[in-house]
């Protein structure tokens, strides 16, 4: 018995094949989802992968939120289905208000691609249970619109409720407020982050680390034990 993890492809999505691979390597059954279909093909969880959906010409993630597939995902996420938004997927989650805040252009205005150290602040979400709270991991970061911002009250709330899921270590790469790299909703089923765990799942490629595999094993264990 394994779980089905869906990965959405929007026009302009780039890291869908990587996310499908990561799900497969973790032992899940990867399922491709298409932006025009409302049908989620009975998946147990969804990954919104990175890329530049619809070109990001208006604002990163701003158009994707209106796609048919997102209608179903928003509904299901509110009902508790686990959803992970990576990079552009995180931007889509903030546009849909499943997660608070917004992403601005990096404070240095450049695209940045590097191995990024993070601290897992919350190891109780659906996607982080395989990590220890406070664990330090390194996964690739690559974006141009990665500066997380929110108003002070929202930030205080996120901190108070333990909803800051990841924080940047060894230098904030983009000016994100309070070094926030990723957050979760209150229920812990919807998680978004800018860095790319799906690029750190094999020792052979990328940065040579497998620190990102825990996202996919976390969700798999949760889903399999629940079924």
């Amino acid at each position: 018995m394994t779980a089905r993890i869906g990965v959405v492809t929007f026009p302009g999505t780039l890291d869908d094949r990587d996310a499908l691979r990561a799900a497969r390597l973790a032992g899940a059954e990867p399922v491709s989802l298409w932006h025009r279909d409302k049908d989620l093909k009975q998946v147990d969880a969804v990954v919104l992968p990175g890329g530049f959906s619809y070109g990001d010409y208006l604002r990163a993630g701003a158009i994707s939120r209106f796609s048919p597939v997102m209608e179903t995902i928003i509904e299901q996420a509110r009902a508790g289905m686990p959803v992970l938004g990576i990079c552009n997927g995180f931007q889509v989650l903030t546009e849909t208000h499943l997660l608070p805040g917004a992403m601005l252009r990096n404070n240095h205005l450049h695209f940045i691609c590097r191995d990024q150290k993070l601290r897992v602040e919350n190891a109780e979400t659906a996607w982080t249970a395989d990590y220890e709270a406070g664990q330090e991991i390194s996964v690739p970061l690559k974006n141009i619109d990665g500066q997380f911002v929110a108003d002070e009250r929202t930030l205080d709330e996120l901190e108070a409720e333990g909803r800051v899921a990841f924080r940047y270590l060894d230098g904030n790469p983009n000016g994100s407020l309070r070094d926030i790299a990723g957050i979760t909703n209150a229920a812990g089923n919807v998680v978004g982050l800018m860095p790319h765990p799906e690029h750190a799942v094999e020792p052979l490629v990328g940065t040579g680390r497998t620190d990102g595999l825990g996202f996919f094993t976390s969700i798999l264990k949760k889903l399999v034990s629940a079924s």
Partner: protein
Amino acid sequence: MTLDTVKHAAETPDVEQPWAELGLKQDEYERIREILGRRPTGAELAMYSVMWSEHCSYKSSKVHLKQFGEKAPENDAMLVGIGENAGVVDVGQGYAVTFKVESHNHPSYIEPYQGAATGVGGIVRDILAMGARPVAVVDPLRFGAADHPDTKRVLPGVVAGIGGYGNCLGLPNIGGEVVFDSCYQGNPLVNAGCIGVMKHEDIHLAKASGPGNKVILYGARTGGDGIGGVSVLASETFDDTKPTKRPAVQVGDPFQEKLLIECTLEIFKEKLVAGIQDLGGAGLSCATSELASAGTGGMRVELDTVPLRDASLSPEEILMSESQERMCAIVEPQHVERFMEICDKWDVTATVIGEVTDGDRLEIFWHGEQIVDVPPGTVAHEGPTYHRPYERPEWQDALQADDANKLPRPSSGGELREQVLALVSSPNQASKAWITDQYDRFVQGNTVLAQPEDAGMIRIDEETNLGVAMATDGNGRYAKLDPYAGAQLALAEAYRNVAASGAKPLAISDCLNFGSPEDPAVMWQFAEATRGLADGCQQLGTPVTGGNVSLYNQTGEVAIHPTPVVAVLGVIDDVNRRTPIAFAEEGQLLYLLGDTREEFGGSAWSEVVHGHLGGLPPAVDLDREKLLGEILIAASRDGMIDAAHDLSDGGLIQAVVESCLRGGKGARLIVPDGLDAFTFLFSESAGRAVVSVPRSEELRFTDMCGARGLPATRIGVVDGDEVDVQGEFSIALSELRTAHEGTIPALLA
């Protein structure tokens, strides 16, 4: 304005035509009249002018380029050779790889962001048109002096353009070069390379056969951008007395290109096309004439059906437009419906604009009236051929006599130390991470090695771990001193870089960047460089699969250094066996492979310390390169080495510093017997590499080198947190890191 139809042209032979403004010479215009037996229509003139431009027709270069075919070594791996959109080589396990480098130099100077962006887009569509999924890009770049104010305008724009376009396509950027030299001031070289992978049976060729088959134009709508890009921009010398040529630069939309890639791959998967061609330089003129000419010869196009961004475009402008993100497919009638469905799925506009006919003429109509009636081969392939005069420039002897080996050398350990720091922090030798970190190198999840490694490496099969590697190299300083040797040194360096990564070099592509062919001295450099490259490829057994020539890289009378850039493609059976450059294991032994001689002509040391360019470049020994390559590949395959770094500009010390910083470990070096410290550290003798050998493998490794006759000298050990040259000096890694990594951000950030 009345439409200039074929009929009208025949009736009005004496109408003045703007052939000179379109970049044609008088005799070329006369030749067109001779071919057609009348004056060309405006639309025909437009087509001939772009297709007969230097950029498209290779009219000055092709008499020299034919050596690449004539001297091509026997090579079973070649599946498709020169002449198609890109060459294709067999890499085993049923896979084929296509790759190519191209220039986008002139547009990138005028409009750095869009020029560089569309350079990436164009090369990616070339690869796609062969039937391959693009899997990686590389970007060899050359700019003026690093501290020149215009470099600060051009470089950030070019880098942002490459990143902005390539990152949105989801193609990892795995290599390339960044070089600064004042000779490129006003003529930056923006070359772009791409690698694509397919199964043998998926190779697609650009030809239109089968009368009745439909001609489908799909992708972006046609706009007024890039009109005359190849003829006006790429085939003339810049001159500041002329008006701005910015409108001749195309504007890219990477999102549209990403859709075009996925859409095209799905169309290939269902085997829906009989022939395919991308639209790049010369746009529809090129695609229709090349497809028709390579097929059965006849094609009829209704030009008014082409979807436009700007309804006011004239037929001539539509034929010349270089609007990006367009492809042209030849599709059998029964597949048209499915073809259209797939385009609709990806939101890609597709239009049947014509069909293949059983005639031998390319006929183009505008609202029912015929405006083009030409034999397509005369447009596509029978452009003029020039035997331009060439002559060794008179200054060449004086340049070679100005021997860099006679320059004052450092006389103490302290002075050596100072010069090492000056070298590793000089713009050309400094870390380019500030630039390459603006490119996504991880996307697709198959990147095994990327810059600053010697070669980029991509896994192409997740089950078997089959991979390909590519390195691009060029050294204009060497080529200026001796263009024949310079071209071979570029080839040798790229070959060595691929071998150092553990991959076996298979084939090459080249991008030949030179000044004006109308200058006999430049033409001599070109002739010598192509001869050197063809001879070198023959000797190394690596055929040229295709490439690109960029001429007129000069401002006024001053040409750039002759700059042949060579891309070598290699294959590795198991990417687990790759060799990185990092010295990561304390206690491992460092071996220098090859012979070190006093060779400083064109060296980084002579440039950084003395601002000097003169003498002769390092001697070329391609048999030695081949042997070194074999040893590096065997040692990698059998686990005898854990790191390897080729030695090139900057010599041994540059390579050691890079490997130490990459691995975060220091090194203790001992100057070997028979060499002085200066020559040991700074010489740029070719055919060398430094390797890190686990102690348990030392005997096996040195035995192998001994048996094969490759000099292998133990020069030290990986150890500590400084680079120490015994008895001379030591420098802490932290100091080296600051020097090496601080320069580029300080100049450009």
